[in-house]
Symmetry: C2
Subunit: 369 residues, 2 copies
Amino acid sequence: MTVHVDAAGNIAGRFFSSDSVTKRNIAPRTLIFGSHLDTVPNGGAFDGVLGVLIGLAVAEHFSKPESTQLPFAIDVIGFSEEEGVRFAQPYLGSAAIAGLFDSAWLDRTDDQGISVSQAISDFGLSPQNIADAAVDPSTVIGFIEAHIEQGPVLESAGQPIGVVSSIIGQTRLVVEFLGVAGHAGTTPMTPRHDALVTAGHWIHEVNRTALSIDGIRATVGRINVWPNASNVIPGRVEASLDVRHAADDVRERSVAQFLALAALIAQNGGAGLSVKHRSDVDSVCFSKRLETLMCDAIDATTGTVVRLPSGAGHDAAIMAKRFPTSMLFVRHPGGISHHPDERVDASDVGVAIDTLIDLVNRLAAQEIS
Amino acid sequence: MTVHVDAAGNIAGRFFSSDSVTKRNIAPRTLIFGSHLDTVPNGGAFDGVLGVLIGLAVAEHFSKPESTQLPFAIDVIGFSEEEGVRFAQPYLGSAAIAGLFDSAWLDRTDDQGISVSQAISDFGLSPQNIADAAVDPSTVIGFIEAHIEQGPVLESAGQPIGVVSSIIGQTRLVVEFLGVAGHAGTTPMTPRHDALVTAGHWIHEVNRTALSIDGIRATVGRINVWPNASNVIPGRVEASLDVRHAADDVRERSVAQFLALAALIAQNGGAGLSVKHRSDVDSVCFSKRLETLMCDAIDATTGTVVRLPSGAGHDAAIMAKRFPTSMLFVRHPGGISHHPDERVDASDVGVAIDTLIDLVNRLAAQEIS
């Protein structure tokens, strides 16, 4: 494969069947496989990287002399930053490939005050060249992401793989509660404006409210407190909020409800409130053509096609905005993700690889005909 | 002055009147002034260091040829770690001087996993020599700490300084809530064990309960969340709790109440609970002899003696366990402490210095007679 790293830190390898270019004498189109290489802190071994390795296994298959000569290239991409842990902005890598990288993101900073732009420079890349990472959609036949399910559906169904019907929508935001710092020993309780008491109350109420909204997922996963010293009343708190629902309107109404709670609780606690960052990703539907091919391939390898939505966001949600896209889920025994106990069975991975090889063969036949 | 740094990182300077040793031909006793040199993050310019500078000003006065020849040395100590921010253990420096340094503290770690022992070594000192920092009480006439009040009493009374009658007791502890980390998008709300929801609920309830206990101060100032990523359900939270009350029994009952709340809320949230660190400092009373001298000196310089308790802990609370101790508070306009807006008036500092010089002269007269 010919490998390069783009300005967003994505690593991509390109494979051509020996005669795929020369015989056709036109600029080659490509079928892209990929997923992300980053993980959450203390995460598992499969979330992301499994999809990159499966893509490589498919490419390896077609590099064998006895394999079909493909009328297109195969690209395998390891996206650079999907989880959004460091800069509270997910999908930096796939957004760059899709030509959807917002240059304002370059100024986002991490906990140490290092900007995205600086981090890219420190890695030896040129943030001013991010736009060059964009791939022309006219050259792309499709994007296919394999990923562990991170949920219980396939395990319950007793199936090794399934096709992802859609990715449920997601809103991420960062809420800031602004109180007044003070000495923990000398400041009486009554005139306090404790930003952490306010934030704690809100976190509890968000959870309580979410329990009453069918199908919602609402999570405050990250909190930063200033000055975060045991003998100082917290003066400022930033808290993330991650909200997901299959129905975009329910998600939007729920977010409004959580923010109204924050406003009410902040007001009662004598704290200021601001929403500092916000990103909304609506539910994503995929390419019908690729989904049909994927279902046919799954049916051929397993005899049973399970269609299921994804509760997690994926690079595929971004790629689908520009390229025909499909996702394959691999069974996830135990269903524990973002945790070292995350696991996957090798035999299921084998079925996934066989299925995607079958899909590539079907696609090649369509493209040639 | 003869200056040295001890193994706990305290810096101490010793001053002798020219003939204080030679004329008496015995091992000299000393009067110690001092306070701490560390601050909380984003703290003010006076909390701690003011007491060191006032001690230096007093020593400077007695270095002048026209000043009283003192029958004792004056030591001025800048204690190394009073706030307890980094290792959740206050009074490391003064505990070493008082011979009360618990060697188990050497294994305490900061957020980066660096131990007290390692931090001391990295600073170029020898943690195994901590015991050598202890000062023999038989050589100490007394310890005097000047400090900003960090409260409104002197400002309300219209007085520049006051004598501290006692230091109210304080319990510090670190509570750990142990939940289960998981994916924020794929884990439904109902089987979650979100450690931050549990901690947030507890923080809110501690505050609510504290509002109903007269004279209590209860603060959760510091919180650490694992993995602290916006798309991961928090699996573990550590939260500090700082509780103070003038009456030791009320403080102890309140702490028991806050811990019972934690146990109840953790159980309801399906989270584990442990109390990881705990330190208790009972209310501290000071030397009657030094207090009388301090009152006489204050009366001489201002004509009015204000006696007031300290809501904050101070190195004097530790030093008082081994040495006759007294504290002088300096008026604190605005009363905002642990904050950059902390301030003090130069004229009040002048009154404090004059008062302590007067106190030293009175003490010298008593010692000689």
